[in-house]
């Protein structure tokens, strides 16, 4: 078990009160697993990613435990997390363009980064060139400023730098959203390549695009309004989802081959609930076509078949 998260709660401090962005999340990621994390904007997926590596100033740890390779990650303590960051847990941010220091050449920036972690740069730098080559970039990149690289090249450079120290867990936050389809494919396949070569042990890929996850993820975790809705192996989520939210989400995806004239798709009516004062019971009930009286109680996130967990009272019956 590479990563185990147990009942993690992280709230955002605002003037109006606490926004319950992450409200009791429990899951685990196995060694060598690529777990996709999907959901609408504001469902807490990025908060989950961030809370595993670095809280921003508005985030407040409430409760829960995170274990990585058997050791507890002190996520609530930014100082104590320092030895873990980059070496054990690494992040590829959404905007690779703004993750690179514009005033440094790539090579110098990486050396500074390694020094800040107390590492010599000799061995790591030759490893860096080798890995850049693997993703189709030449050594010349090291002598360039970020502005000289295209979006896809920057994204790949950041991917290589973040995984340089072979972290145990890699969090990729919406890294394909801003890219063209052909670059998107290359970047997604690079992620899988990193896992296959053992550069990273396990991975959490955060995206709103279920079809990308279908291509690369081993399992998919669907979040809704700060809580977990469904977790299952990728094929199960795509072909036989149990949670009504997952079903609606999948049926609203236009695919190549589906045409308005032949098959009219429908979206999900309504909006996610405000997380400042979330509703009691099932948070999806207000938009759910199956909602019934029992949905006023919060459904447990329980296993309906091996490896398939659903938070819905009606997960068995429909």
């Amino acid at each position: 078990m590479s990563l185990a998260v147990n009942d993690l709660k992280v709230y955002y401090r605002t003037l109006a009160g606490d926004v319950q962005a992450l409200d009791g999340v429990t899951f685990s990621v196995a060694d060598g697993e690529i777990m996709g994390l999907a959901g609408e904007s504001g469902c807490g997926k990025s908060t989950l990613g961030k809370s595993l590596i670095r809280f921003d100033t508005r985030m407040r740890y409430v409760s829960g435990h995170v274990e990585l390779d058997g050791a507890e990650l002190p996520v609530w303590d930014s100082e104590a997390m320092n030895p873990f960051r980059f070496k054990q847990v690494s992040l590829i941010p959404q905007y690779a363009m703004s993750a690179l220091n514009p005033t440094r050449k790539i090579g110098r920036m990486t050396k500074e980064l390694l020094r800040s972690r107390g590492m010599g740069s000799n061995g790591a730098m030759s490893e860096l060139s080798r890995r850049l080559e693997l993703v189709g970039l030449s050594d010349d990149v090291l002598d360039m400023y970020p502005i000289e690289l295209s979006g896809g090249m920057k994204q790949r450079t950041v991917m290589v730098i973040s995984t340089l120290l072979d972290p145990s867990l890699l969090i990729a936050d919406e890294i394909t959203s801003a890219l063209d389809v052909s670059t998107q494919k290359a970047v997604a396949e690079t992620l899988v390549g990193f896992r296959d070569r053992g550069f990273v042990k396990s991975m959490i890929v955060i995206t709103h695009d279920l079809s990308i996850l279908h291509q690369i993820a081993d399992s998919i975790l669907v979040m809704y309004a700060g809580q977990l809705a469904e977790k299952a192996p990728t094929e199960t989520i795509v072909n036989s989802p149990r949670h009504p939210y997952t079903r609606l989400l999948i049926s609203s995806l236009p695919e190549v081959g589906v045409r308005y004239a032949e098959k009219k798709l429908a979206g999900i009516a309504g909006r996610p609930p405000p997380l400042l004062h979330p509703p009691r019971g099932c948070r999806f009930a207000a938009r759910c076509p199956l909602a019934a009286a029992m949905c006023a109680q919060e459904p447990p996130f329980k296993e309906v078949e091996p490896g398939h967990l659903v938070a819905c009272w009606k997960a068995d019956g429909c």
């Binding site: 389809v181 609203s252 190549v256 999900i268």
Partner: protein, 291 residues
């Protein structure tokens, strides 16, 4: 109704504008009433530039855009305003399309001041309600709110409602659903399809092939500013002839097929910069650039 005749756009770049960067090269197509034309391409393909030229937001370097028989590139003042009565655009980011200081319905007030100063308040409210209803919004839910209180899908629909207040014939929709969530995306897309059935011509600009395929009648695939393939949507998607189109289609992530199962396309030769590929008609309403 709207006809583009061999339009090109060259940006001057470099310190003194010495270097020329062709963004759009010899593009021609037509939009008929009740027709959705998708412009599909990756970044740098010139799709947004074409939209901006139709909206007269950037001047055309060469070629003509004809709207109902009038060349729009020379329109000035009152005539240009008349053009905007019929042709409007909606853009990608709903949050930056609004002034956060004003309430979201301020966009309707500006339309009234500019185009309908004589209309009475009562009559205007009537039209506004009809327009909001057409885009599937409840006036009580959206009027009097600030942009940050509304969702991205609501904001985009408000912008479409604003366009509908005019006697609009062409809507340029530039990536209008790229920033929306999957669950609301399809609603805005269905809204465009409804409007098309009422006779509106839509130029739908996107990088997402599945969205273009879902709604459009005609598809134009662009690469480096030039058309590589164009024709009826079912022909371009059903029988793609240009290797670039095939490569794009093979890269789209899908739920019913994995990348590994799709035959990879051989690498494309980079298009030479100088020459514009010539379009050849290979079938009924299906044009492909010669390779």
């Amino acid at each position: 109704m709207l006809k583009l005749e061999g339009i090109s756009k060259v940006y001057k770049v470099g310190a003194f504008g010495g270097a020329a960067l062709p963004a759009v090269r010899d593009v021609s197509f037509e939009v008929a009433p009740g027709e959705v034309v998708s412009l599909i391409g990756e970044s740098g393909s010139g799709k947004t530039t074409i939209g901006r030229m139709i909206l007269r937001l950037s001047p055309i370097t060469e070629g003509k855009i004809i709207f109902n028989g009038v060349d729009i590139s020379t329109l000035r003042r009152r005539k240009l305003k008349g053009y905007y009565r019929h042709v409007q655009g909606v853009f990608q980011d709903p949050f930056s399309s609004y002034n956060p200081i004003f309430k979201a319905d301020h966009i309707f007030a500006t339309i009234k001041d500019a185009f309908f100063p004589g209309v009475s308040g009562h009559e205007w409210q009537h039209r506004l309600d009809a327009s909001l209803e057409a885009v599937g919004l409840n006036p009580a839910e959206v009027l009097g709110k600030f942009p940050h209180q509304l969702s991205g899908g609501q904001l985009q629909r408000l912008l479409v409602a604003r366009a509908l207040l005019l006697e609009i014939e062409i809507l340029v929709a530039d990536e209008i659903i790229s920033m929306l969530d999957a669950s609301t995306r399809i609603d805005v897309l269905n809204l465009l399809a409804d409007l098309k059935e009422r006779g509106l011509g839509i130029v739908f600009i996107t990088h997402d092939l599945s969205l273009g395929n879902y709604i459009s009648d005609k598809t134009v695939i662009l690469r480096h500013g030039a058309i590589v393939e164009m024709g009826a949507t079912e022909r371009v998607f059903g029988d793609p002839r240009h290797p670039y189109t095939r490569m794009l289609l093979a890269s789209v992530p899908q739920l019913h097929a994995k990348w590994a199962e799709i035959e990879p396309e051989p690498d494309l030769p980079e298009a030479e910069q100088g020459e514009t590929p010539r379009l050849v008609e290979i079938g009924d309403d299906h044009y492909v650039a010669s390779i």
